[in-house]
Symmetry: C2
Subunit: 342 residues, 2 copies
DNA sequence: TATTTCTTTGCAATCGGTTACAGAATCAAA
DNA sequence: TTTGATTCTGTAACCGATTGCAAAGAAATA
């Protein structure tokens, strides 16, 4: 029971009395090789269970056919959808993907970036962590002209293609919806305003208020992270407000679900007393009672689009690390958590 | 703006007038190299931004320092916790991890296994997909004496270390809890009985009934997958039963959450009319109303344990692909969805 | 038959790091 | 001063696939 040894092109060459060069060419369907020879090689390779040694190949060709993906989290419907989209396109184009998750911390994001750089991925797709401010760890890719693209959580201070939704518009629509339901005092619970997504949604929120000629009140904007007990904190804040709000726009479905549970515990009716809108259309938004009104955005499509851009950049060597923004559509899905009018 | 060229040990060697061999040794902290020389090399390497070429190294050493992890899904708290545990231990031991998700299908699991095999990972940790029956795609690892370990979703027909909870015991405890709450007619909603986890939980369910001298009624066991609308189907089945059940044991928290929502829609009170117990202690179990009684099991610990075994096997070359079972503790967490007694 | 062209295959260098073995240099002991 | 041990560094082969160039053989043309 000794371990099975790997078959190399040299083994095949010896057995067929050909040179390794011919074997190599035959295996890659190089038309310069005689069809009969090619078939012989292929057959023997299959029979012997030959598999190409990627290291040798990568070393020689200086390519890895691998795309690195850095995500800020894994545990969400949106992210799973994005990954699925990326995978589809990448696989079709002959690339493997390498997933690294930064778990919402720059520290891990930095490590992941270094790792992928050392693994010499051919391209990188990333969504920034919660607290990333300095993007220096992405510079090496740019210096080496390795395609680097961002989706969802991005930053305008880096030369890269980005695939995003129009967060300002989404924030505007969500807020407008609450206003249309008759809300006059809307709490906006969101996260780190250094992240584009949250900053833009806040801008949209402000814009909607302005449109309805309502004053912007900073005290109604609650900035937190979205840890598990953040919902509790938000509701506590709400409960201590002298003038009670009648609307709540949370930029995260998980958190809005917790908020709803906490509000109910406190005897506040949703949507009667407070209408609630979340963000992301996560599965949880359809699980809690009442179902949560939310912003849906197409994860899979975003994944596909960004992977397509990347593959195109790799094939054409054009537009690599050029600042460019692609906006995909998002939509408001109205459910019971915000319905106050017929 | 030409892309930055990579620095190699040859570049460093030339600049320091040393041989590549010395550079290689110095960079790996080989004590045979004079401390002063080593420092010189290290300093220059840092200054020049040298990074080792893993392909060259892997090619020569026939090792990748990479562990492949195949998970059946990504989008759950449990899985994220397991991955975090694996990552901690792996990183500490100098291994990278490579995540592949099979999205609950054998087809992708097979592809992933082949991919990891071709990437020549040093070891593999896997949790089986929903419909995996034939395990042939894992055989290549065993043939090559590459450590292969399973967690959670496993199979007894393959020679591998497995880290699991005592699913039979968990099923027993969950059922017993419902019986203790006065339930007499308990529906067991579960999934593919070919998967150990579901089969064992059913055994536990049966055992509890027997203990309480209640008859086992096959009509009360509903086998489905756990797609998004499965909860709806389960509740529909329940609604059509002539004798209404008073207990529901679902082996998945997401699904049990949907069930609760659907039951409520149908005017059935939880836990008064039907007491519900889920499985996994997913975040959602604390989000829905009432909070769901569930079985908690330690994802991070499982991740750490299995990675520790793997690292040990890699270091010692012992116990590779030996059938062995490690059981980690699980516990019932009682919440409102099942509480009918004080 | 001689010459040219085309097809097919082989030679050998290359990618960058590792390591067994040899050899040089230093120092201590005889 | 010689010998032996010790410490440090270098030489060169190797891992396996790729590819520019040379060359052999076959076929076509003169």
């Amino acid at each position: 029971m000794t371990p099975q040894k790997d078959i190399t092109i040299y083994d095949l060459a010896k057995e067929l009395d050909l040179s390794p060069a011919t074997i190599s060419r035959a295996l890659k369907n190089n038309p310069i090789i005689n069809a009969a020879t090619r078939k012989k090689v292929m057959d023997l390779a299959a029979k012997k269970g030959y598999r190409s040694n990627a290291f040798a190949s990568n070393l020689r060709t200086q390519k890895t056919n691998t795309i690195g993906v850095i995500v800020h989290e894994l545990n969400s419907y949106f992210m799973t959808a994005v990954l699925a989209g990326i995978e589809e396109v990448a696989t079709e184009a002959g690339y493997d993907i390498l997933i690294a998750h930064s778990n919402e911390t720059v520290a891990k994001e930095r490590t992941n970036a270094h790792n992928l750089f050392n693994k010499r991925v051919d391209g990188v797709i990333a969504s920034l962590a919660y607290d990333t401010e300095d993007l220096a760890h992405f510079e090496p890719f740019i210096k080496k002209h390795i395609p680097l693209l961002f989706f969802d959580r991005t930053d305008n201070n880096i030369a890269a293609t980005q695939v995003v939704i129009d967060n300002e518009e989404a924030g505007y629509i969500a807020t407008k919806h609450l206003l249309d339901q008759g809300c006059k005092r809307i709490v906006h619970a969101t996260a780190n305003l250094k992240r584009n997504v949250y900053a833009d949604r806040l801008t949209g929120y402000k814009k909607a208020l302005k449109k309805y000629k309502l004053p912007y009140n900073e005290a109604l904007v609650l900035v937190n992270d979205f840890k598990e007990d953040t919902g509790k904190l938000i509701v506590e804040s709400i409960l201590t407000m002298k003038e009670k709000p009648d609307g709540l726009f949370v930029t995260n479905d998980f958190c809005s679900a917790v908020c709803i549970a906490e509000l109910k515990k406190a005897g506040i009716k949703v949507p009667k007393d407070i209408a609630v809108v979340g963000f992301n259309n996560d599965v949880v938004s359809r699980m809690v009672e009442p179902n949560i009104t939310t912003i849906n955005y197409p994860g899979k499509l975003m994944g596909r689009m960004i992977a397509e851009r990347l593959v195109l950049q790799l094939k054409t060597k054009k537009n690599i690390n050029k600042q460019e923004q692609i906006i995909v559509p998002s939509e408001l899905i109205v459910r019971d958590s915000s319905k106050r009018k017929k």
